[in-house]
């Protein structure tokens, strides 16, 4: 069964709404950063945007802005928390703890895509988009202050 087959119809509609709102990839910050995110997003990150909308947006916000019960996945606080860690660290955290009501239910390939989407949204640029989980080990997270 494909991923889309497992998504309730009303969720798909919601997802389309979210994706429209995320145009071109996310609407989190300035037009400049939107463009940067779009440029940084490879095919896996773009698939991650769909997964994010289905699995994550209800708590973390459609623009990764966070919510009442969940921290933002963008902005200064997010970058401070993850600066100098590796993409694998972020991947492992998501894999181990999310979604909050059913941790462990996401497949590794789904978490890989969500990870790349979140990092692209935060302006991470990849020369070559990491194609597998192992490639995340060497990807250090750092942002200019």
């Amino acid at each position: 069964m494909s991923l889309l087959d497992r998504i309730p119809h009303w969720r798909l509609v919601k997802m389309a709404t979210v994706l429209t709102a995320l145009s071109p990839l996310v609407g989190a910050a300035s037009p400049e950063s939107n463009a940067a995110a779009r440029d940084a997003a490879g095919p896996l990150a773009q698939q991650g945007a769909i997964l994010y909308a289905v699995k994550c947006a209800s708590c973390h916000g459609t623009r990764l802005e966070g919510g009442q019960h969940a921290p933002p996945l963008t902005g200064a606080a997010f970058r401070e928390s993850w600066n100098q860690k590796t993409a694998r660290n972020f991947y492992s955290r998501v894999l181990s703890t999310m979604p909050v009501n059913d941790p462990g239910s996401l497949a590794p390939e789904e978490v890989l895509r969500i990870t790349l989407f979140c990092l692209a949204t935060n302006g991470m640029k990849f020369n070559d988009e990491p194609a597998n989980v192992a490639a995340l080990n060497k990807l250090k997270l750092q942002w200019d202050k």
Binding site: E65, S96, S105
Partner: protein, 672 residues
């Protein structure tokens, strides 16, 4: 298999009484007791994660006192996840929100770790004794979230630890941590509720055992992919019913339906047939129990559509209510609704603390429920009747199309509210004229007023209002961390926070929406829980922003209030003013001992933003006066409850800590 409890004895009379703030008495009846030691007998142990099942967060220990508390120092630190697990699963990286609060029984700490597996360690040294192993050696099985606590049970030599993790109820042998094979299937019971779309069950509070019955609430109740269910535009969900299980076999004994069944008069409080489709209302705060009465106390929360209730006209019993059940049978004893037709997300998210008070010369077995709205509802826990009158008063009415605001809400006449309620221009921050002007300008863009001013629709018109400012906010003046009770003195200590929150609703845009209105995407401040601040991040109102309030429940009066933590006194705009502590708006848990009141800063592991990012302070206050006696640095802020006990002749205080920088752990402090 499921045996539904008789939902409503004596309901005809009760509906009217409950709606008017009273309740119906029923003769006490004990759950069948095993030989387990009672948790409510103080003996230097910490038999449940709230101290006892009464959840006083109290210990009579007094080795650490006012005269020596400044010699408190770190005795040991334990990681939030035992190294054997991280070695076995390198990708296991837990959340920094370590909820796990230990219980201490016979010199051993038992606590859910950072992924919810139980760990046992020596209370005096923190050294590992055993670690619960995942059911299968896979990351799918070991992945998880921390849970606030576990419980224990014994019958002679048969001693067990009871825990909830993910979708399962577990029993472990207390001596070894190995599964109790005769319990459920190989030591666990699936808690799936058979919701239409298979929404996963989850429970951050853990179980409570009363007699030989395990009682469970839950935090889900919604739909797949819906998160916590506070927003959204789908009215169809599932109520998070309360369930009882046989402690020996794991067989389900009863279900208490938190939306009354067909034929019950309370069902009339759900108009337009909404009782058939509305859900949520789960017990987000811990359950508590009176082991002598055999009663369990269940704090219930908001129904589907936390900020819009046009699809559920009526008072909506037993949403946002405190309900008392007979733990043995699951039968309803009494219920009290604290907020009618809740559209503020004013959950009863705090533990219903049990304690005995003396009012007008009469000894009363009381239950004290702190609501997010900053009222403490004090009831007779046998009858559900208010100790002091709780009166219905008119409240502002909603302008949102289709909404059915309750005409009145129940207001306790005593004790007074323990945090700020409502908003007026006089409440705004005024350390400098510039700050006051800025705050006035900000609030001019919103509706605001007294407590229970309802959410509103944001206007797109130039100069139109952006929604409603609510105080307290839906983040809560009081939630899981709030409340401790001193049975020596009858004093209740409320730790609370002050936030100004914007709540706006909008017409649902989603073509699949079944609610006419929903929480508005783009509500100002939504990324920080809707909190509205000045442009420089200062609160809009006067301090304190986090406070401790002592309430004398023998008299129903406030004794004192102190700021809890420094707050923004070092903010660039305030530093030169040399202000006293302003209070930090975080999730501080109180702990009362023989002479002191301990409160720790919370760490930003709590929901990722509710606390400090670096080292934190454990503060000791004189419990009589609120005077700050000492501050001790701990590596990160608290993310769960404070615990104290005596081991090998020494009093320890243990704090679950967590922050994004530090990670997670438990730090134990003792006199050096």
């Amino acid at each position: 298999m499921r045996k539904a409890a008789d939902p409503r004895p004596m309901v005809a009379l009760c509906l009217a009484l409950t709606l008017s703030g009273a309740a119906q008495a029923q003769a006490p009846r004990s759950a069948t007791p095993s030989q387990a030691p009672r948790s409510d007998v103080p003996d230097g142990q910490w038999r449940y994660f709230g101290g006892s099942k009464r959840f006083e967060r109290y210990s009579p220990l007094r080795q650490i006192d006012r005269g020596n508390v400044n010699r408190l120092a770190v005795a040991w630190v334990r990681p939030g996840l035992d190294a054997t697990l991280t070695e076995q699963f390198p990708d296991l990286v837990p959340s920094s929100y370590l909820r796990g609060t230990p219980m201490m029984i016979d010199g051993v700490l038992y606590v859910p770790n950072a992924v919810g597996l139980i760990e046992a360690s020596a209370a005096a040294t923190g050294k590992t004794l055993w670690v619960q192993q995942p059911f299968k050696p896979t990351l799918r099985e070991v992945a998880g979230q921390s849970v606030r606590g576990a419980d224990s049970w014994q019958d002679g030599p048969d001693r067990r630890i009871i825990a909830v993790r993910g979708q399962y109820l577990y029993e472990l042998e207390r001596a070894t941590g190995k599964p109790v094979r005769g319990f459920g299937e190989e030591g666990r019971v699936l808690l799936d509720r058979g919701t239409p779309d298979g929404a996963p069950y989850f429970n951050f509070n853990g179980p409570i055992v009363v007699g030989d019955v395990i009682v469970l609430g839950g935090n889900g109740g919604g739909r797949v992919g819906e998160g916590f269910g506070d927003s959204g535009a789908i009215k169809e969900a599932v109520p998070e019913d309360i369930r009882g299980y046989d402690v020996r076999s794991g067989r389900q004994l009863w279900t208490f339906h938190i939306i009354p069944g067909k034929g019950a008069p309370e069902r009339q409080s759900w108009g337009e047939g909404s009782a058939d489709y509305v859900g949520h209302m789960g017990a987000w705060g811990p359950l508590t129990a009176d082991e002598s009465l055999g009663y369990v106390y269940v704090p219930l929360t908001t129904p589907t559509g936390s900020y819009y209730g046009g699809h559920r006209p009526g008072n909506n019993l037993y949403s946002t209510s405190l309900v008392c059940l007979d733990a043995h049978t699951g039968k309803w004893v009494w219920g009290f609704q604290t907020v009618h037709h809740d559209i503020w997300d004013y959950d009863n998210a705090s533990p219903p603390i049990l304690g005995d008070i003396t009012v007008g010369g009469r000894r009363i077995k009381a239950v004290m429920e702190a609501n997010k709205n900053a009222f403490l509802y004090v009831l007779d826990r046998v009858t559900g009747k208010p100790v002091w009158p709780i009166v219905e008063r008119p409240v502002p009415q909603s302008s949102v199309p289709g909404e059915h605001t309750a005409a009145t809400q129940p207001f306790p006449t005593k004790p007074p509210a323990f945090d700020r309620q409502g908003l007026t221009p006089e409440d705004l921050i005024d350390f400098t004229p510039q700050l006051k002007r800025e705050a006035l300008e900000i609030v001019s863009h919103y509706e605001y007023g007294p407590l229970f001013t309802p959410p509103s629709v944001a206007s797109p018109a130039p100069g139109g209002k952006k929604g409603t400012l609510t105080v307290p906010s839906s983040l809560g003046a009081a939630v899981w961390n709030t409340g401790a009770f001193d049975p020596q003195t009858g004093i209740y200590y409320a730790t609370s926070t002050t936030f100004v929150e914007a709540i706006a609703v909008e017409k649902s845009k989603d073509p699949q929406a079944t609610m006419q209105y929903q929480y508005a995407e783009g509500t100002p401040g939504a990324g920080g829980g809707g909190v509205i601040t000045t442009k420089d991040g200062l609160p809009l109102v006067k301090p304190p922003y986090g406070r401790i309030t002592a309430l004398d429940l023998n008299k129903g009066e406030k004794l004192w209030t102190v700021a809890n933590g420094d707050g923004p006194r070092e903010h660039p705009l305030l530093k030169s003013l040399h202000l006293p502590p302003l209070g930090s708006p975080n999730r501080s848990v109180p702990l009362v001992t023989g002479t002191l009141l301990f409160v720790a800063d919370s760490g930003n592991g709590v929901m990722g933003h509710m606390g400090v990012s670096g080292p934190a302070k454990l503060r000791a206050f004189d419990k009589k006066t609120g005077e700050l006696v000492s501050e001790t640095e701990i590596p990160a802020g608290a993310t769960g409850g404070l615990v104290t006990y005596e081991a090998q002749g020494k009093q320890y205080i243990v704090v679950p800590i967590g922050s994004e920088k530090y990670g997670t752990g438990w730090v134990a402090l003792a006199l050096k």
